[in-house]
Amino acid sequence: MNIQTILKSFVGKAIISDEQASLIADYEEDKPFSLHWELRSILYLGIVLFGSGIGVIIYENIDTIGHQVIIALIAALTAWCFFYTYKHALPYSNLEVKNPKKLTDYVLLLGCTTFLILEGYSQFQYNAFGTRYGVAVLIPTIIFFFCAYRFDHKGVLSMAITGLASWLGLTVAPLSILSENDFTEDRLLGTAVILGIMLSIAGWASEKQNIKKHFSFTYIFLGGNLAVLAAMTGIFSDKAQFIYIVAGIALSVFFVQRARFAQSLLFLLMGVVYGYIIITYLIFSNIESDDASFTFGTFYFMFTSVGVVYFLLHFKKFLGIKK
């Protein structure tokens, strides 16, 4: 099956005319071979390598160069990044603003990163914030939230959310929620659930109120994951179980509901998996005898997993998604 046979069958079924077919054949014949992604990948990889190399060289020669020079350089770079972004920014709007100049997105992200480095560096070298860590974390968070909305940048938004969470002593990075957070502490567990729920609500509200609708994925993904995982930890460790059960199941249902608005089927997967784990745990933690749970488990997992597969095969019908 190649282009010629497809065109022939199209003409045969009277979908396109002969002239159009020969036009398309010409296009397929002459269409240029795009190196776009390859060249971009080489460029970005080059920047990463160059940056790391220079960084190490500077680090090795820090005694001869001096800290002030480096801080000044980073500060200058940060200032330039923000200035560049500001100069090329489009006016604010509640809708998605797509900047035709692709570079500005990267420059803003670079600026935010170097700002963090600058802050960390001055704290490390000169103890600029002393022990007031809260302030040190809150400043970038506020700036990032502002930049995210003003310049319409999802990446910066998730950096801001990360900052907000770490201000409360939490990590929201999806892969390190369980490994980095100390959920043995009750207070932190509660904070995580509340923050996560608030972020999910923020995401839901931004969609309802039509304020930067496309941000809702970031909010719900980061917040929801944090809240559910924290709630699950709470359920497993028998701390104030009931609240966490309600929160965990409500969030799972919320995820499945979100999938309905077809932002991403990722939410469907998350909702189903989290919900399944919570319900399964609740059932088995209430069976006392080992033998009973073994026999029951064989049947339970066999039938429920088939049930979930059935649900996922027909999820459009269950959720009333058309198309």
Partner: protein, 381 residues
């Protein structure tokens, strides 16, 4: 071998994808696209990647507990024969459901069928391992290859295709290792086998196996290059001969391998551009990077940091120059952006998460630990 999936639908899917591309390029109208959809129907169930993952996981759970359920009745004293019977029954069951679901639910690599196929293959292999437990490696390779290859022919699954390929390479390696002369010519044998496989799969033009042949092309080109790479051959040679020296010794035919290391990437890139073959091009670029690494591994006068900076600088200059040069397409090559990234949302989050760990509390160590460069400007991109 009779094919498991509806071939007309697969052809139609391919046709419609092409039509979508034409529509994107405004070569056909919306109405014509709709007509094409009507004229070339396909009823596969193809959910997004995340639903597929869910289906895959839960099918695997179902399979493992179903086999547990069967073994409740038949395990007896746990002898090899009992286990073999259990796995044969399970295999029959899995294949039955696999075929049934493909037929009734229009599955097409939708997660469920992948999981069932792997479970069935796993069950098919168990009797060989439990009944004949003292065969040689190459004999196991042949048995597994037969299973994987048959499955690939019928289901055109990428994982089974890849495992069939690796089993073949493994078989070759194991046989060659038996003879002293075999060890010496192993690199050439790997290259020859890869070349043969590459030429064979290039011949297959069917849509049904398209994804498998693409994958095998990638794998065989990779093993072909690795078989001729000086670094791999030299270090591998030391490893195979159990030479516990601080430095791997020089190898016979060294100039020949220098030549391979240098020329294979160039040949790949050249033909990739000429034939507009993206697989060749990208592998050529990766191979080139490995060749540069090979050179520096033995001959470099610089420190790693300097090398990183120099390599990075060359890459930046080269790509920036090419982007500028290709601003208007030349020689049938362009810098036009094609296609859209499907998971842009997730990408943004992961990139930002990677960078965004606020450095003030706790992360201070980084600045003392020499990890400074890695966290530097670069990773933004």
């Amino acid at each position: 071998m009779k094919k498991a999936y509806n071939e007309t639908w697969i052809d139609n899917l391919h046709i419609l994808n092409t039509a979508d591309h034409w529509f994107e390029k405004k070569l056909i109208s919306q109405e014509q696209l709709e007509n094409a959809r009507k004229a070339f129907p396909q009823k596969f169930y193809r959910p997004g990647i995340f639903v597929k993952i869910g289906l895959f996981i839960f099918t695997l759970i179902a399979c493992s507990f179903a086999s547990g359920f069967v073994s409740l009745f038949l395990i007896g004293n746990g002898a090899g024969e009992n286990i073999s019977i259990i796995s044969l029954i399970c295999m029959a069951g899995f294949i039955f459901f696999l075929e049934l679901l493909i037929k009734n639910n229009g599955l097409y690599h939708s997660g469920v069928d992948n999981a069932l196929l792997y479970a069935a293959m796993g069950a098919a292999v168990v009797p060989f391992v439990s009944l004949f437990d003292n065969l040689e490696v190459w004999q196991y390779c042949i048995i597994l290859f037969a299973v994987a290859f048959t499955a690939t022919l019928r289901y055109a699954d990428m994982v089974t295709a890849a495992s069939a390929f690796f089993l073949l390479i493994c078989l070759l390696g194991n046989l060659m290792m038996k003879f002293p002369i075999g060890k010496a010519i192993l690199p050439f044998a790997v290259m020859a086998l890869s070349a043969v496989i590459y030429l064979l799969v290039r011949k297959d033009k069917s849509t049904y196996y398209e994804r498998c042949t693409k994958l095998i092309e990638v794998l065989s080109l990779t093993t072909f290059y690795l078989g001729g790479n000086y670094l791999i051959v030299r270090e591998g040679n030391a490893l195979l001969n159990d030479l516990n020296l601080p430095f791997a010794p020089q190898i016979p035919f060294a100039p020949l391998f220098y030549l391979f290391t240098l020329s294979i990437p160039i040949v790949y890139i050249f033909f990739g551009l000429r034939k507009k073959d993206r697989i060749l091009l990208i592998l050529g670029l990766l191979a080139f990077a490995l060749s540069v690494y090979t050179y520096r591994h033995y001959f470099s006068p610089f420190t790693p940091a300097q090398e990183l900076a120099i390599a990075g600088m060359f890459m930046i200059i080269l790509s920036a120059a090419l982007i500028k040069y290709l601003h208007t397409p030349k020689h049938g090559i362009s810098d036009e952006q094609e296609g859209k990234r499907k998971l842009a949302n997730l990408e943004a989050i992961l990139v930002a998460q990677h960078l965004g760990q606020t450095p003030v509390e706790g992360n201070n160590v980084e600045f003392g630990g020499g990890n400074f460069g890695g966290g530097g400007a670069g990773e933004t991109y």
